[in-house]
Symmetry: C2
């Protein structure tokens, strides 16, 4: 990156303008990082070759605090989060847009770190950032930097993944341990630094999904349990499909550090956000093959069947406890932690 030639140490209001200062920011910080032919044309809209199949389209804004945390930063999150939302439709992820809202006075060095991190995550996920926008607001009008990404992918024929497709008898697969992202961000927040080994699981899941779809397209639902955690995701699937989901606590991978911190702070790991995990609801005939395919992937090594779909009571999620008792897993009212992503 040629950022060293950028003549400013801190972002100025003028960097959000349509004038020379705005152009300098684009040309010296963004273009070298995301370099591709489409972006270099600097047209009002990116013009892209179409793709076969239906379109997948999604957006997310990222407001995480702190900006840098163990295992990632807001830039990596902004790429992975949107790639993951696309992946949950079974789409092949192709194009991303990036919209920055920056507070006047934000250190250019931090912006460069964030943008490098976005570029690296985009390379890892095999997607291109083809459109962008930058706004700068007065000091005090935003907290450092917010990033929005939107993404486009193409869904191959024969794939019909949706939250409405869970059927009684289907099995529920979880790709790995829960709560890592939420607890890693929390641990980094001022005054609560209690763990140094725990890292966010922030990662692009498109490779894992491709491996799963390569063995079967009888995958009915896919969702990444981000805000609201596994509890919110399973409740959404149960409500939208009109089914019950029953999981078993003992089958859900939770890291020791996460479990310990949750006990200390009174959090439920089921409510913590994840940024590199997925839940799949699959036909039982293919569950073993899908699971095997997942375990060959770095992001699916700990994949496990954690429960099954039932017909009654519709819209409810239940969890069998190690004691043998069963409890309702309710949709959380709100996040235990705001600004987790």
């Amino acid at each position: 990156m040629k950022s060293s030639s950028f003549p400013w140490e801190y972002i100025q209001l003028g960097h959000g303008s349509g004038g020379r200062m705005g152009h300098e920011l684009v040309e010296q910080i963004f273009l070298p990082a995301f370099r591709n032919e489409t972006l270099l044309r600097l047209d009002d809209a990116a013009v892209l070759p179409g793709g076969a199949g239906r379109l997948a389209f999604t957006t997310d804004s990222y407001v995480v605090t702190p900006l840098f945390f163990p295992g990632g930063d807001i830039g990596k999150l902004a790429i992975c989060g949107t790639v993951n939302d696309l992946s949950m439709s079974g789409a092949c992820c192709r194009y991303l847009s990036a919209g920055f809202i920056i507070e006047e006075g934000f250190p250019v060095a931090d912006l460069v770190k964030i943008v490098s991190s976005m570029a690296e995550a985009a390379r890892e996920a095999g997607v291109m950032v083809v459109a962008g926008d930058t706004k700068v607001v007065n000091r005090g009008s935003a907290d450092q930097i917010f990033i929005n990404t939107a993404g486009i992918g193409f869904i191959p024929e024969g794939i019909a993944i949706s939250a409405v497709n869970a059927r009684p008898g289907n099995l529920v697969i979880l790709s790995g341990s829960i709560g890592d992202h939420g607890m890693a961000v929390l641990s980094e927040r001022e005054g609560i630094r209690f763990h140094t080994t725990l890292k966010s699981d922030c990662a692009p899941l498109n490779g894992l999904v491709a491996a799963m779809l390569s063995v079967s397209n009888r995958i009915n639902c896919l969702r990444d349990p981000t805000r609201g955690g596994l509890a919110a995701t399973l409740n959404e699937l149960a409500v939208q499909s009109g089914v019950a989901i029953k999981i078993e606590e003992g089958l859900i991978p939770v890291k020791e550090e996460v479990r310990g911190a949750c006990e200390l702070l009174g959090f439920d790991p089921l409510h913590l956000a994840n940024e590199g995990k997925l839940v799949a609801i699959v036909d039982p005939a293919v569950a073993d093959d899908v699971l095997k395919a997942m375990r060959t992937q770095p992001l699916g090594r700990e994949a496990a069947i954690i429960g099954a779909v039932q017909s009654h009571p519709p819209g409810r999620v239940m969890m069998k406890l190690p004691t043998g008792a069963t409890r309702i897993v309710d949709m959380p009212l709100a996040e235990p932690l705001p600004r987790i992503c």
Copy 2:
């Protein structure tokens, strides 16, 4: 809109969560406004039929202050601005995403007004909002509300519009008076309320562009002069195409109120933002037909040829003054007004 059933008067942090409060906000405020089948599925990504031709993809964040101004608000702007960016590629605009970043304590009544205004502008432009996201940040971490929209369109065969396509001999068409948006927003800012009749020109330009393309596809460049105004847009086109552009001041429509306010405040109308105007660079053989087609449209009634493209000096914009002298129109360093869109 069923907003009356929403039980909160002010937005809470929990409305940005993945839990019940976040779902209530989506179900009671956003879904009734943007109602369409894709959005109602509430999947992580919208699944959409593909379209013929190349894809156009763009994004913009909107941080305008004040949120409500004569002729529009941040919601109308967020739809029109992105529709217009898509239109400048000649695309038929189809799908939008909407990402909200809201400050804790923001009045729900204002959110409802903004969302209604978005829905109305989307209907006018014939586009659907198919994907969305909401984040809520602590009081003081954002200034009321920021909106990001990204958009997808499809570009028909035979259209090749790009900022690199201006050729010597081409003519420059402007669709109407400049500076209305910039001055309307400025006039509304605290302490500078000097005009009551001036309105922002904020409008979706896709209908106007469709009318232009229906008479000829020999339109080489299209751009809407938003941030940085006409001066920035013409400089971008001159630099990217490696040509000179010469315009004539007397041919550029500027409303009396805008001219007066500019003189009073020391602004150049060429630097003020527009949100419902476009610049077209066209083959001279079709200029009259294109102009005639534009004038049949409500947003092109005042369209005029304001200059021509020359080969020298490349990258420069010049303007003939009423005195007969010629001055350089430089790329402005920055905006006269931050947070204009």
